[in-house]
Structures are given as C-alpha cells and as structure tokens.
Symmetry: C2
Subunit: 326 residues, 2 copies
Amino acid sequence: MSQNPDIHALTNEDPPTGEFELIGWIRRRTGALPKVRLGIGDDAAEIDLSADTRSILVATDMLIEGRHFTLDTASPRQVGYKAMGVNLSDIAAMAGKPIAAFVAVALPRSHGIEIARELYLGLEDSAREHQIAIAGGDTNSWHGPLVCSVTILGEPTPPRAVTRRGAKPGDRIFVTGPLGGSLRGRHLHPAPRLKEAQSIHRNVSIHAMIDISDGLTADLGHILEESGGLGAILDADAIPIHPDAIFESARDGRSPLEHALGDGEDFELCFTVDPADSARWISESQSAFKPIQIGSIRAEPGIALRLTDGSSRLITPKGFDHFDIK
Amino acid sequence: MSQNPDIHALTNEDPPTGEFELIGWIRRRTGALPKVRLGIGDDAAEIDLSADTRSILVATDMLIEGRHFTLDTASPRQVGYKAMGVNLSDIAAMAGKPIAAFVAVALPRSHGIEIARELYLGLEDSAREHQIAIAGGDTNSWHGPLVCSVTILGEPTPPRAVTRRGAKPGDRIFVTGPLGGSLRGRHLHPAPRLKEAQSIHRNVSIHAMIDISDGLTADLGHILEESGGLGAILDADAIPIHPDAIFESARDGRSPLEHALGDGEDFELCFTVDPADSARWISESQSAFKPIQIGSIRAEPGIALRLTDGSSRLITPKGFDHFDIK
C-alpha cells in the first residue's frame, strides 16, 4: 500500500526503467485515496464502503491487442485510458458511483516496461478524472500481446441501481449525446457519463438504462430483450448525429444515421422514462445538460424507425441473436 | 441474470456448441446464489453485502497460457479450478469470506468453445465448493493463447481483515500444512484454507498472514518486509515436508527441505501470533485442525534456519529484491 498521501504529487517522478522499479512506481502512484484502507502490496485490497451501502456494483472488461485495439493505431496510454473508461461507463449505466479499480495485465516482453508505464499513465488519467483509486491488480509479462483487464467497484446511488430490465410500453427513450463515427478516434477517449447519470437518477425515475458500446440499435435491443421482449419506435430526425458520423459517411457512403444507429463505442447512455414523468422532468429541469428524446418503447417487438415523411420501417428483426457476453 | 434458482441443477445440461449457446449456458449456470442481486446480463453486477459490512476485500489474479500453465500439461478445467483457487487463497490470507467472482477470459479461436466450456466447469467446481457465485465477467475470443483473469470479492471477518504487516519480534510463526513439490500436480488443485483461516481468526489474534504461493521463504519474506524489516528464525526439523517434496528430491537431488522452503504454489497459509496468545491457543484448542509452529519472528533482518545440531545459517539476505507485483 502506498504510504504517499497524494497520488497526484508523483506525476513528475522519474519513470521506471526495470521490473522492480515499475512495481514500486505503480505502488507509489496508487492506492492512496481515502476509500482504500489497504491497496497494492497485500494478498487482497480492502476498500471502505459508505455507511449506508448495502450492495456493491462490479463491472469487468478486458481489452485485447489485435482484437480491441492495435498498438499501431493506439498508444498504450490510450489503451489504458480506454480500459478504465469502458468500465466506468458500465458503472454510469447503473447510475452508480465508482470507488476503486483493479487492473490485471499481460505485458509483451518486448518493450514491456515502457508499455506498462504508458498504460498505467492512461489508466491513471481516467481514474484521476473520476476520483477513484487503482487499488490493486496483477502484473505479468509474457511472450504474447498486450491484455488489460479492468474490474471496477461502485456503489449504487439512491434509491437503487438502474438496470436494463425495467422499460415499459409508452416509456420515452433518451440518449445523453450525439452518436456515430467514434472509430475516427473518439472511441479511444471515452467520457463516461457518471455525473450525468447520477444527476438524471436524482431527478427522474429511470426505468432502464445502458451505455452505448455495441451501437444504439444493439444496445437498445438489450434493454428491450431484458425488459421482456418489448419493441421501440425511433424518430429518425431526433437521433443526434455526431460530426464524426458525417465524416465517416463521406468516406464510406453509408448514411450518417446508419453510423449513429450502428457504430457503437459512443459511451453515451440510452435510458427510458415514464412519459408523464419525463414531461414533468423536461419542463422542470434547470440543468444545462439536456438528454435527447429519440423515441418510445412499445409492446410490439423489434425496433422501427419513423422517417420524416411519417412512414416507418423495421430496422431490426423481432428478436435478437447477437453474441452478448456481459 | 439467471432465472434459474439452482446453479447445481444444470450440471447435466447438454454442453454448448457455439458462441451463442456458450453465453446462454454460462449465464444459466451462474449468478443464482442469494448474494447476487444482479448477475450476468447487465452493464454491471450487483452483489448484496451483509448488514454489518463496512469494507470489502478484492483479490485479482490472471493466469496466462505459456506463463502459468500450458494446455499440454493442464486441462482447461484444471486451469479454471486453479484460477478460482488462487484468488480464494488470497481471500483466505486476509481471513476473509469470499462472496462472488468475476471472470474475464481471452479464448483461443481454435477450440475456443470447448476450452471455454471446460474452463467454466473448473471455475464452477471451485466456486461451488466454497459457495460463491460467478456473478459476471467478460468473454472474448482472439488469435492468441488462453488468458483467464479472476477477481474475487470478499468480506472481512471480525474483528478485521488480517494483513501482511502486523508481525512483531517474538511472534510464533505457523503454517497450515505440508509444503513442497506442488509442481507434481497439487498446484493445479489448490485447496484454499478459507475455513481454517476464519476458525483461527476467531480463536487467536493473528498478527500477520499470507498464503504460500511464491514459496515459504519468499512469502514469509513479504510479511517481514511489510512488517517493517523484521527477520525470522525457522526450525528446520519443524517445517512440514509434503510427500511430493520427497518425490521431487529423489528426482532432482535437491533436499526435501529445500523444496518445502522454496517451491511455492502450496496455497497453505503462513501466519504469526504473539507467543503468550499462541501458547494459550494451542493448549485450549479442541480443533482437529492443527497448524504447525515452525519458528519465530525476530528483530534482526533475514531468515535463518536452525538445524538439528543447534547451529543456524542464514537462508536469505537481509532484504528482499524479488519482483512482487501484488
């Protein structure tokens, strides 16, 4: 466990040059936030919980070189930042408050120390932004590519954690920001909507929520499936299109809307709210942050898109057979 | 989250044959123990805590093909069993009570489904023995070797978690079982000393504890280092030698004692207790389970071995420069 009271004070320390220095360096940089009773350097870490915590949230995501990124196109620091961010986004999707992160890595033997150092800086960049500690983990080197598995603990915020399974016919569907084209680079710099989710959760009863990693259609599909086989109708004109989706469209000829619906790795949230509750919330909200209403839940399965001319077409089959492993 | 109330009832279900079936199969088999409010199938899992829990223990260990095992000499089921067991052993070393496990895997594309199925059966064998749920994780396939990262949450048991750092000069040193030669096969079948640790913790004040993964000398060294640079003297005749260490000695000519002191992966516990407290405990104990007293802590750094003739020799330098990353 770090004896140093401030992980931030060490940023300008000389970088480690060997395995021994690396571990000491990681250990000194981590584990000093107040929640960490016992950090790196024992058989397990011990994390303090708030007095009223009766349950704990746990998100785990593994990023793999050659599958989720390549070191030709992403720096180790970006990989670290993303590995932390995708897990924070999962905690955001529960309207949770993250507490601490645990990082298991397999480091390539070639340039392993340099990669580890940069990876940890990226993990730390994200951890610091969201005021959580990197409180433990496991560091290994091998004759293989880079693998980074992050597990984040979080606490639910009152009244309870928001799941994917509470959507009801009639619910309004919202997203927290513009979608599409994240592969242009945004996907490496996720901005998990933690504060926004907690704020919305305080002000309105969120029936179901998910973060957009697979793409709006697929992720909304998860909500529909988990909520008992419901469907949705989306207003094509209401879907917020990210400028990156327009760039991608110019490159590949697929429409910006297609990119917004399908690309994924936006790390925005998609959630549903009872129509009366959402009308009250929208009229009362003083917040500068405005989620965008994009459609409604309905009983009939499948996701339909309502076009500008009033016609609609089904964009997913009535049922989902994606490979979902979370 | 599984709707099935009994993970054990499904053991004889037809095995999965494709990725889609695999995930459904894992999901049905996991997450149904009482502590799991929300298991596999949402952005994060939600785990219920006991009413008096004020902190949580977290252990993370990653097993890597070609580094920690090879599929030539270990079956995927053994790898799964071990991956769970080494983490449970870390929770045991804190005298903690495990609650739930999270598993991130990278599966080779070749025979990935078969490997995954066997791996999960092994994880489940161990989880079931210790009554914990596999409550979430992340499953990926890639063109690389098998990587399995397990994170286990646990609760401390009263009065508090036991760390590596409370040893004092004069403390008696104990181990929970015979050591050495685990590479003959025992290392693949760890029997984490969870119940024993909790029982000892109830009956005596444990000053410091660790599980023996790197080897008795190295792991006792961690206690000495974390407790402020202390030393120890061990009685050569008191070190419990596993029969496997004798077999290994016959094979390689190194003494059984050397194997017991150095081999590691025994997953027994090593702990220290105040001398008066330990005398009382030993005289009062009704338990059939008897930890073995092997020596004492002393202020002088380094670990010395006291031989049968009363002479002693230093078996470690005064200080440790191992590559420890936990």
